[in-house]
């Protein structure tokens, strides 16, 4: 990772860098959301840092944190200097609204799809993104599935499911099946008792 990047960020941005840590050897800096774009530009353009490979952008949901429910996490790598850095920013209120941050598509073009994915899954809006629409879910989907308050099994089917009258058979698959539908021997071995 890169201690140099953390030092330079702190030197340049001063109090906009809220905290830094190096847990497990990953150097991380938490910056204020309004310094997000400037920090990214600095990391790319500074010749001693030269972060040219855009690795990853995602968001993590901390639903109980009041100032900054979503933590937008950016990973960067420099192929020339062989170091990495993680940049974080906290956005959003407790309901998940007002989660806005600047886009990085003009700094690295790779941010395009990753920001769309973060928007799709978490609902973080990227100001200035040329094409912010859903990427993994379909446009008719409502809600942001990766948020902690979205129930994992809540489906929004695009095609209405067939009913059992229409199908003419039982559609819910409950194990074990009937004798002629699934395994012929069913689950009877444990009913026969211990094997002694």
């Amino acid at each position: 990772m890169s201690k140099l990047a953390l030092e330079k960020l702190q030197a340049k941005f001063g109090d906009k860098v809220f905290e830094t840590h190096s847990q497990c050897g990953d150097d991380t800096a938490v910056v204020s959301p309004d310094a997000w774009h400037a920090a990214a530009l600095f990391l790319r353009d500074d010749p001693a840092l030269d972060f040219d490979l855009f690795v990853d952008l995602c968001a993590v949901d901390y639903p109980l944190r009041e100032n900054g429910r979503f933590e937008v996490v950016l990973h960067l790598y420099s192929t020339t200097k062989r170091h990495r850095v993680r940049l974080k920013a906290r956005v959003g209120d407790l309901e998940g609204d007002a989660a806005e941050i600047d886009t990085l598509t003009d700094v690295w073009s790779g941010a395009g799809w990753l920001e769309r994915e973060t928007f799709d899954m978490m609902g973080v809006v990227f100001r200035g993104h040329p094409d912010l629409r859903r990427i993994l879910m379909y446009p008719e989907f409502e809600g942001h599935p990766l948020r902690k308050d979205y129930p994992a099994q809540q489906t929004q089917p695009l095609v209405p499911y067939r009913t059992e009258e229409e199908a003419g058979m039982v559609l819910e698959k409950v194990a074990p099946f009937g004798g002629d539908e699934g395994m012929a021997f069913g689950r009877k071995w444990f009913e026969r008792g211990a094997r002694s």
């Binding site: 879910m137 379909y138 599935p145 979205y150 129930p151 994992a152 099994q153 809540q154 489906t155 929004q156 089917p157 695009l158 095609v159 499911y161 067939r162 199908a167 058979m169 559609l171 698959k173 099946f177 002629d180 539908e181 699934g182 395994m183 012929a184 021997f185 069913g186 009877k188 071995w189 026969r192 094997r195 002694s196």
Partner: protein, 199 residues
């Protein structure tokens, strides 16, 4: 020519000619299946293996994939169907012409697999009727062939009741006992009889 044939076959005398014609059609259809491989996920790798020289489904006549639903009669739904993919699957199925059969290849296509979440369709039979379910994640090519043989039987007999490919051998009967002495012969025979009754 065909008009006189139908006149002969209609009516109460459904005898030799009908059954022979049906049998002929069934035989021709089952050994010349044009499949539409609707491949989405990991099962697609096993589909590739099934079509490859070692396990070769050309032996069953089902080799020719037709990438147009209009020209195919067996829809192989290979892999997980997500909610986003569901309308496309339905449309492909509706575009196929009768007679058509559907095979759910893999657990995700049969019942959603372990993706019990907001984005997976829990089994394609929620959307389209399915004839054979081949469970497995992914199923071994031999299981796929069992499924193909089941489809061929259905085509030959004309029965449309859906069925599931079962393992040939119940793994529960082959359990290895740890640190207990092997059972005496008598009891083994009784167990076999019990197996025979239940199976």
């Amino acid at each position: 020519m065909s008009a006189t044939e139908t006149k002969v076959l209609e009516g109460s005398e459904q005898g030799f000619a009908t059954t022979r014609l049906d049998a002929l059609l069934g035989w021709a259809r089952k050994y010349s299946l044009f499949n539409y491989p609707f491949v989405t996920a990991c099962c697609g790798m096993e589909f590739m293996a099934v079509s490859s020289p070692r396990y070769d489904f050309a032996r069953f006549g089902a080799e020719a994939p037709r990438f147009s639903p209009r020209q195919s009669d067996l829809l192989w739904v290979v892999g997980t169907i997500s909610q986003r993919q569901a309308p496309i699957l339905k449309r492909i199925y509706e575009q196929m012409m009768e007679p058509r059969w559907v095979m759910a290849f893999g657990t995700c296509a049969s019942c959603g697999g372990f993706y019990d979440n907001y984005t997976t369709v829990p089994g394609i039979d929620k959307i389209i009727p399915c004839d054979v379910y081949v469970p497995g994640c992914p199923p071994r090519p031999e299981a796929v062939f069992d499924g193909l043989l089941l489809i061929q039987d259905k085509i030959a007999s004309g029965v449309r009741k859906p069925s599931v490919v079962k393992p040939r051998q119940d793994p529960a009967t082959d359990l290895v006992q740890i640190n207990t002495p092997p059972k005496p012969e008598k009891k083994k025979k009784k167990k076999d009889e019990a197996n025979g009754e239940d199976a």
